[in-house]
Each structure stands twice: as structure tokens, then as C-alpha cells.
């Protein structure tokens, strides 16, 4: 193949040893896993605390949803290292969220 030595390489690339470059390597700082863990643990405790505060239902729900989203976001961004992925993948991953939203919201108005 004279055109380009690397043409078609991606077809088989997963078999190549991962020496050359890889996503997390030098390009990005290593996420601080333990620090994230600390945040998650604190947020969990805070959530439980909030639940026992006896807040009015609406405020409670908003606070808890916010905290849960935060935690979920941390897991996705750092542990699943979405932050360090190509933009295309991030778009792909958030694609179904609006759908989930539409489904739940539309049906909620029903009852």
C-alpha cells in the first residue's frame, strides 16, 4: 500500500502494543483518584445528613438530586475518565440523556 503506511491501521490497531501513545499517558495529568474518592465519600455523608434534616420535600428533592448528579458526574468524568476522551465520545455518551428526560418528564405531567 503505497498511499500511506498507516492506511487502514485502525482496523487492527487494538492488537498493537500500546506503546506509542495512549489516552491517559503523558498528555493528561493523572486524575487524583483518592481525592475524588474523598469527595464522593463526603458527599454521601452529606446526602444522608440532608435527608435527616427534615427539610421541606421540594427543597430536599432538589438538594439531593443536585448532590446525586454531582457524584454521578464525578464518577463518569474521572473514574470512567470521560473527561479525557475525545469529544465525539462525550457527545455519544450524553446523547440518550435528553431522551430519558423527555420520557420521564412527559409522563410525569400525566399523573
Amino acid at each position: 500500500m503505497a498511499i500511506d503506511p498507516n492506511v487502514g491501521a485502525n482496523l487492527h490497531s487494538p492488537d498493537m502494543p500500546a506503546d506509542a501513545t495512549h489516552e491517559l499517558g503523558a498528555a493528561h495529568p493523572k486524575p487524583r483518584y483518592m481525592f475524588i474518592f474523598g469527595v464522593l465519600a463526603v458527599l454521601t455523608m452529606a446526602e444522608v445528613g440532608v435527608a435527616y434534616l427534615g427539610l421541606p420535600q421540594r427543597i430536599l428533592v432538589i438538594t439531593l438530586v443536585f448532590m446525586a448528579m454531582w457524584k454521578a458526574g464525578l464518577v463518569a468524568m474521572y473514574y470512567m475518565h470521560l473527561r479525557f476522551e475525545p469529544r465525539n465520545l462525550i457527545f455519544l455518551v450524553i446523547a440518550p440523556l435528553p431522551l430519558a428526560f423527555v420520557l420521564v418528564l412527559a409522563v410525569l405531567t400525566e399523573f
Binding site: 500500500m1 487502514g8 485502525n10 482496523l11 487494538p14 502494543p17 500500546a18 440518550p96 423527555v102 420520557l103
Partner: protein, 593 residues
Amino acid sequence: MTTAVVTGPGGAVQHPVHHDEPSFVRKYIFSTDHKVIGIQFLFMSLLFLVIGGALAMLMRYQLAWPGEPLPMGLGETRAPGGIILPEFYNSLVTMHGTIMVFFAIMPLLVGVFANYLIPLQIGAPDMAFPRINMLSFWLAVPAGILIVASFFVIGGAAGAGWTAYAPLSAVSEYSGVQAGQNLWNISLIILGFSSILGALNYITTVINMRAPGMTWFRMPLPVWALFITAILILLAVPVLTGALIMLLFDNVLGTTFFLPASGGEPLLWQHLFWFFGHPEVYILILPAMGFVSEIIANGSRKPVFGYPAMVIAIASIAILGWLVWGHHMFQSGMNPMLGSIFMGTTMVIAVPSAIKVFNWLATMWKGDLHFHVPMLHAISFVALFVVGGLSGVFLASTPVDIYLHDTYFVVAHLHYVLFGGSLFGIFAAITYWYPKMFGRMMNETVNRIHWLLTFIGFNAVFFPMHMLGSAGMMRRLYDYTEYPHLEPLQETNIFMTWAAFALFAAQLLFAVNFIWCLFRGRRADPNPWNANSLEWTTPSPPPHGNFPATPVVHRGPYEYSSPDVADRDWYPQDELPRVVGAPAHAAETEVRR
């Protein structure tokens, strides 16, 4: 230019390994070759098409001559003395719908052609995950066995319609069906898993395994359609799975998701089902649209008119398809305000469909039309899909749907889009790619007769359904002659039934032709239709690994009648560009390898 070398960690995709003559079992049964899997799906789903058709014949018999004994017996619990029982009729409707939608049309479109075509048309040696692909097929098999087995359990097969509205489907006292409903649930859960595994394979393959030069906008439209369909499957089917699980639990665990007596919500089932169900009907049409685009361009010897618009139309149908599910629930007691919103979105969805229809017409405009059999089916698709789509507009109008909902008008609509649309698209695709799949041509004359009879028969069976619907005949009705105002419709129904028998008989031609030519058909060239896309550059049938060398793509798939090549009217995607001024050399134009 920099090349994206993705160095992934290993232990992953196998090279197209060339085994030395694998065993029969590895080659034809537990094969990981996408082509074999596609063909396995083909045989399985054609079998189910026949079963679904046969169930329809029983229904038609009852609808023409309600209460008259069948010429043959079907067992005392179903049809004592040959007279179909109401509960058996309900099972027939349910299983006909379920089998046609989930076990015939969906696997025919996706299981068969996504598997077979995607790697070949994008120039890949196989799927991204061949073993998951195999698993996908081998999950569909037990699902199929369960659904057929459900006819033979006590209480008979599920009888709550293919939409399985709760509470009828959730409490066996209400329907009289016992294990049948649970088998239906379990079968569809398994099949859903199979579809999801397939979908993730197709998506990954299209994103990552395209041959060099195969940019997004050089992909053949079937690949586009199948890719977007796979996304719909991926996101819609799990919602059904979740709903099915809740329904199953209501049946067997005593939970109460959909049972109002102890706090559940019947409408929740409908919302979940249709949130899946409407994307599902587009799953059932988009691939067919892709095939038809390909075949019309080929038959017209002309580039697809408005290729980018076609892609955008598919994508917008797919996106809008998520926002219209409520149009199945206008009369369900759903909030009327929500109904208006759903009417709006549903109306809008006619627009991308319009774009597609007019682009097909424009593709034929000033073409050089060759009416090979796939082209005949493709043109029929356009002619009939329009009818089905337009009847959809009646149903989309909320006030009109008050009258038409759950009448035969809906049945007419759904057969025009599903049979006139999807199944004609499938006939087009099977006749078009048969030579590639099996290396032999189907008999052209027999196929033409089959097409003609199917086209006429189809319209004779299903067009009158519009009239039945307008006259107020409800669907899923065991014996409409109970209603005095529907009694006069019997003559029409008798006519439709005879037409349906003829239609079914006409399919025998196709079946015989299909099977006969597997063994006796004329040998096919690599490129019998003078087409451009990559699958035609490799032998028929393609070898394991598909392409002797990775193809390199230089242009879009529809460069028919290009002025750059004067000596013929096609220009394969991987052919080296002819340098301006250089003589078109015969040696170069031949199919290489």
C-alpha cells in the same frame, strides 16, 4: 496528513484469521463470520415470515366466514370442530403482530442486512465483535423457540395484542391466558438482548472500522440507515425490556406496576411501550428506505438525488421519532394538552418523509431506468409507502383519530407501511443482494411474476381495510357480524380473504425460487448489477475476511453515469480516479482481483 493511529490495548479484535478449513460446526453453525450470521438470520426470519403469514391466513378465514369450521382441525382447545374460538383468535392476532414485527421484519432488516452489508459496504473484514455477533444470533434462536412454544402451553399463546396492554396482559384471569403471556414476555426480553448486542456491534463497526477513504458522507445509504437504526434499537429496546420485566413481575411475582387495584398505573405501560414502539416502527422502515435508495440509484443509473438531504432526513426521522409516541394514546385518557403536542410533533415527521419520497422521485427523473426485479420492488415501496404515510396523517390528527383509532383504518395504515414499505423493501434487498450472498442469480421471470402478484394481491387485501375502518369496523374483532352495522362488510371481507390466500400462495413462488436457486441458480458475477459500492468488488460470495486487501475508497457510492467515465455508467468506489486526459484503459476498468 496525520493518521489517527489508535493504539489500543490488546487482547481484542482478531485479525481476519484464515483458519485452515474450520469444521462444519464452526463454519456454518457457531460461525463468527458476519456473512454466515446474516444468512442464518435470513433463514430464521424467513421461516418466521411464513409462520406469521400462516397465522394471518387463519385470521382471514375467520374474518371472511365467522364461525364456520376450518377445513382442518387445530386441536380442541383452540378450534373445537375446526371453529376458531375467540380466545384463539386473540392469540392469532397477537402472535401474528408479534412474530411479524419482532421475529420477521426486524431481523430481516437488521439481523440480516446490517450483519451482511455493513462490513462489506464499509470495506471491513468483519464486525468489530464477531463473537458477540454470534451470541446475538444464538440468543434470537431460543427467543424464537419460546414464542412458538407458547402456542402449545395450557391456556394458549398470549392474547392481549402485540401491544400487550395491561391489565389484560398482567392478570391471567382477565385474558384466560396463563403461561403464554409469560413466555411472550421472556421471549421478547431475550430477543431484546439479542438486538442490543447486535446494535452495539453495528455502531462500533460503522464508527471505527471503515476502510480508508470511507468518510461519513461516502457511506452508502443502507449503511447510514442501518447505523441510525442501530442507535434507535440501542436506545429504544432497553425501555421495552424494562417494561417487559415489570409486566412479567406483575404476572409472576405479584408486583403491582400496572394494576390499579393495588396502586399501579395501566397507562404507564402504554407510555413505556410506545416510547419504545414508535422508534420501533422507524426501526422497521429506515433500513428499507436505505435499501430502496441504493436500488433506485442503481436501477436509474443516476446518483441519489440529494444524498446529504437523505442522510439528514433519516437522522431527523430518528430524532423526531422519539417525540411522537403519544399519538398511539390519543384516546387512552392521556392529558388532551399532551395529545396536542404529540399531534404537532407527529405532523412534523411527515416532512423528512416527504424529503425522502421526493428525492427518490428526483433520482428517477432523467434517469436511465432499468427495471430489474429489485428495482420493481423498490418502486413499489415508494408507491405504497406514500399511501401508508398519508393514512398516517389521518391518524395523526387528534380529532380524526377519535373515530379511526382502533379501527381497520389503523390496520390498513400499518400494513401499508410495514408490508408495502418494509416488506417490499426486504424483497428488493433480498433479490438485489441474493447473488452476493449465495453466488447465484435468482430466476428473473419467476421473480417478476412474484412481484406482480404480490403487488396486486397486497393492494387487494389491504386497500379495502381503509374502507372497513371508515365504516367503523374495530380491529382485533373476532366476529364483527355481532354488530348489525358491520354485517354488510362481510362481502368485502370475503374478497379480502380470497385475495390474502392468493397473496400467500404467490409467496410460494418466491420461496421455491429462493430455495431452488440456492442450488441451481445461474452463477453470479461479482458485480451483476454494475453497482459501485464495495461489496461488488469482491467475489460472490465473498471469501472469509471479505476483501483480499483492504479497499481504499475514492468517491461516493452513487457515481452512476459519471462524465468522468465515458465507457460505462458506473464508477466503483474503490476504482482509482481516472486522471483527466488519460485514456480509460480497459484493464483498469475491470473488476480487480
